[in-house]
């Protein structure tokens, strides 16, 4: 009984410092209000983030699908009475012949087209032919065309392949193309349509006045430039800039509708693959050493601090390091010279995919190490103990238990690192990527460009339509990036399942 009294006393003593029933209700209401305010603050952050993301996609997609008007540099009506697509092969051949026959440099132009489009000769092959001709040798049509397995009219067989007239070249084109190919050839090389105006969908549908004004302005400008008052633009029509040729063609900075990004895509994929191959094993290895082997002495602490700080170093600084170390100091290796793989002995340069990947590898190494360390630390110690308790060596424990269980976390870090490397530009500008390259990289020792840089080059072009190409390129960049990440996500979920 006395004990109960004592305890009641104690409660009443303290409860004078705590709210009574009435105050308690107010107090709870106030605390609930506070909780609700915070809830809405958090909700607002999410909404803002979603809105930004939506605006980003909206502005890109808006630029990638537009209405355009086209100016045909040669009016199709002057070429033939019938619509061009209805002409026969013979008639299309005549159109080509007439067109190139009428212009002063026509013979040179059409010869270049035959060499490039019909024969697919490389520049060096063309040089060789020119050299032999200069040496008074005759390089015959038969020799060149049979070498490439192409058809040629018998009467041209023994003539020099570079000394034909326009009629001869036109005949060669006509022989090797079917009607559809000839039609495409005529459109591209004779009619030469140019996209001169582009409007986003909202502009086109909601500001007709501006569209009409733009058309009138452009027409006036063209009529004045070409001194031809009959010039008329086509009716505006829908044009998707996301097209298959974006990944099949190389960059063409004269015609936005033909510009492709193949070289940049291949360059990016080479670069990212090599980067992962370099950085992932090194990063995971370093993380394993730091977490499982290092005894945590002062040296380990210094290394750890440095890695943490390196993750925040601006990428341009890595670029300068890469320039000094890989491009310059190790030029013999990064140019492939040492393996006899360089792009010709005397032009050897370290500005290769390998240099870029090594630099990029250094850039993402801290990110991979830190994430791998986190993942390794999260593996429960009980697993290590169980493994050691059975007489496993350190390596067996790491390989059989620590790594498989840390894998999902390591892959998460890798996803972050890939994303960073894929979109990185500053490093590559310094290390020496070139934007006007049209030769696909063929290996680690090739010169190269990457997608983000190519997109930047497109945006800086004066002609407005290149911004539409850039928007399509950005969509492509995002698609490739998401596909790369999807692979890592699938791998991660596999490992997570295995670990349960």
């Amino acid at each position: 009984m006395s004990a109960t009294e004592n305890s009641t006393n104690t409660v009443s003593q303290y409860s004078q410092y705590l709210p009574d029933d009435k105050q308690l209700q107010k107090n709870i209401a106030r605390r609930n209000r506070q909780a609700i305010i915070w809830k809405y603050v958090f909700l607002f952050s999410i909404v803002l983030a979603m809105f930004s993301l939506f605006m980003l996609f909206f502005s890109i997609i808006r630029q990638a699908f537009t209405y355009v008007t086209i100016y045909d540099q040669v009016n199709p009506a002057t070429l033939s009475d019938k619509p061009l697509e209805n002409l026969s092969q013979q008639e299309l051949g005549d159109v080509i012949e007439n067109h190139y026959g009428a212009i002063r440099t026509g013979r040179n132009d059409i010869r270049t087209l035959v060499f490039n489009n019909v024969l697919g000769l490389s520049l060096s092959d063309q040089e060789k032919i020119a050299d032999r001709e200069r040496a008074k040798e005759t390089v015959t049509v038969r020799e060149v065309f049979e070498d490439k397995d192409k058809k040629y009219p018998a009467e041209l067989a023994d003539q020099s392949v570079i000394r034909l007239d326009v009629v001869g070249y036109a005949a060669l084109i006509e022989q090797n193309f079917d009607q559809e190919q000839l039609y495409d050839f005529v459109i591209k090389n004779v009619v030469q349509p140019l996209i001169v105006n582009s409007w986003t969908l909202d502009e086109y549908f909601f500001s007709r006045d501006k569209v009409n004004q733009d058309i009138a302005d452009t027409e006036a400008r063209l009529r004045e430039d070409k001194k031809d008052p009959t010039i008329e633009l086509t009716e505006p029509k829908f044009h998707s800039w996301v097209q298959w040729h974006l990944i099949t063609k190389t960059i063409d900075l004269s015609r936005p509708e033909d510009a492709g990004l193949r070289t940049a895509i291949i360059g990016s994929l080479w670069m990212i693959t090599l980067t992962i191959l370099i950085a992932l094993p090194l990063g995971v290895g370093a993380a394993i050493y730091l977490e499982e082997y290092s005894s945590g002495g002062w040296l380990a602490r210094i290394i750890q601090t440095n890695i943490d700080n390196l993750a925040g170093v601006p990428s341009i600084i890595y670029g300068i390091l890469g320039l000094a170390l890989f491009v310059r100091a190790l030029e013999k290796i990064t140019s492939g010279d040492i393996f006899g793989l360089g792009v010709g002995g005397n032009t050897a340069t370290g500005r290769t995919i390998l240099s870029a990947s090594l630099t990029m590898g250094l850039l993402i190494l801290p990110v991979i190490i830190i994430n791998a360390q986190e993942a390794i630390r999260a593996v429960p110690d009980s697993l290590r103990q169980a493994s050691y308790g059975l007489g496993a060596t350190k390596w067996q424990t790491v390989w059989n238990h620590v790594l498989p269980n840390a894998m999902p976390g390591i892959l998460t870090g890798t996803i972050l690192a890939i994303s960073r490397a894929f979109g990185e530009t500053a490093v590559l500008v310094v290390v020496g990527s070139i934007t006007r390259i049209t030769v696909d990289p063929s290996g680690p020792f090739s010169r190269f460009t990457v997608l983000p840089l190519q997109i930047f080059a497109l945006i800086t072009q004066p002609q407005a339509q290149f911004r539409n190409v850039a928007a399509a390129g950005i969509l492509l960049l995002l698609t490739i990036l998401l596909s790369l990440n999807a692979v890592a996500v699938i791998l991660r979920s596999r490992f997570s399942k295995r670990a349960v």
Binding site: L383, A386, G389, L390, G391, A392, A499
Partner: protein
């Protein structure tokens, strides 16, 4: 170990053993002999160093940074803390079962086959036989024989602990160290583990750390009572047959502890 066939009257023998974590002395001057094919219980209040002592018997303490030992632990006449002793071999001969069941996140089969596999046994048929024998010894075979591919984590707590015991048995150790193996289990699962321990002592020497004095009284043949002494270092107070410790202890502190006057 240089002397794998050495013999000794005792399964293990600690001589003037001190264990340190960096500069902190966790266990002071323990000398005791572990009888073969018996169950020896280490009891004492929290922090008295009994787990540390147990973990030193198969050098699991080496995994703690900065830990080291002075004195000797003799196994087959060889000092386990000698210069030419590889802890990997010690642990393969002196197995361990932990406080919390810690099966690998793998199938039941792989859990048990892991030990033989790391020792180099790759033959599927032999591995299958080892798995079955170990599971039978651990009284788990009938529960899981149809489902060896199931994850070890899908078992109940008591089954998981028996799986861990089976895993230890699979590498055929001579001595099994058990660190409070039943503290995470319910009373029925505890009884099954105790029953299992009595069966296992036919073939194995068992050393068990327990907080549960009834458990020590029920299963063990010998009991060692430890207590935190000067500078918080654990000391061995009394070591004798379990019956003596629980009926006529020599030291008054032992009597105070087992009668529940402190601890």
């Amino acid at each position: 170990m240089t002397n794998p066939n050495g013999t000794s009257k005792y399964a293990l023998e600690a001589r003037n053993l001190h264990i340190f974590y960096s500069s902190f002395r966790a266990v002071r001057n323990v000398t005791m002999q572990i009888e073969p094919n018996k169950i020896t219980a280490l009891i004492g209040p929290s922090g008295c160093g009994k787990s540390t002592l147990l973990r030193s018997f198969n050098r699991m303490n080496d995994l703690v940074l900065g830990s080291h030992a002075e004195g000797e632990i003799l196994y087959r006449g060889q000092n386990l803390y000698g210069n030419n002793v590889d802890p990997v071999e010690v642990r393969r001969r002196i197995g361990m079962v932990f406080q919390k069941p810690n099966p690998f996140p793998k199938s039941i089969f792989d859990n048990i086959a892991y030990g033989p596999r790391i020792l180099g046994q790759r033959n599927k048929k032999i591995l299958g036989e080892i798995v079955e024998r170990s599971l039978r010894q651990a009284a788990l075979w009938d529960d899981v024989k149809d489902n060896l591919k199931k994850s070890g984590l899908a078992l109940s707590g008591g089954q998981q602990q028996r799986l861990c015991i089976a895993r230890t048995l699979a590498v055929e150790p001579e001595i099994i160290l058990m660190d409070e193996p039943c503290s995470a289990l319910d009373p029925i699962a505890t009884l099954r583990i105790e029953e299992l321990m009595r069966e296992l002592k036919e073939n194995y020497t068992i050393i068990i750390v327990t907080h549960n004095m009834q458990q020590a009284a029920r299963v063990s043949d010998y009991t060692a009572f430890m207590l935190m002494g000067n500078e918080r270092a654990g000391e061995l107070i009394e070591y004798d047959q379990t019956e003596r410790i629980f009926t006529k202890p020599n030291d008054s502190r032992t009597e105070d502890y087992i009668t529940g006057r402190f601890g």
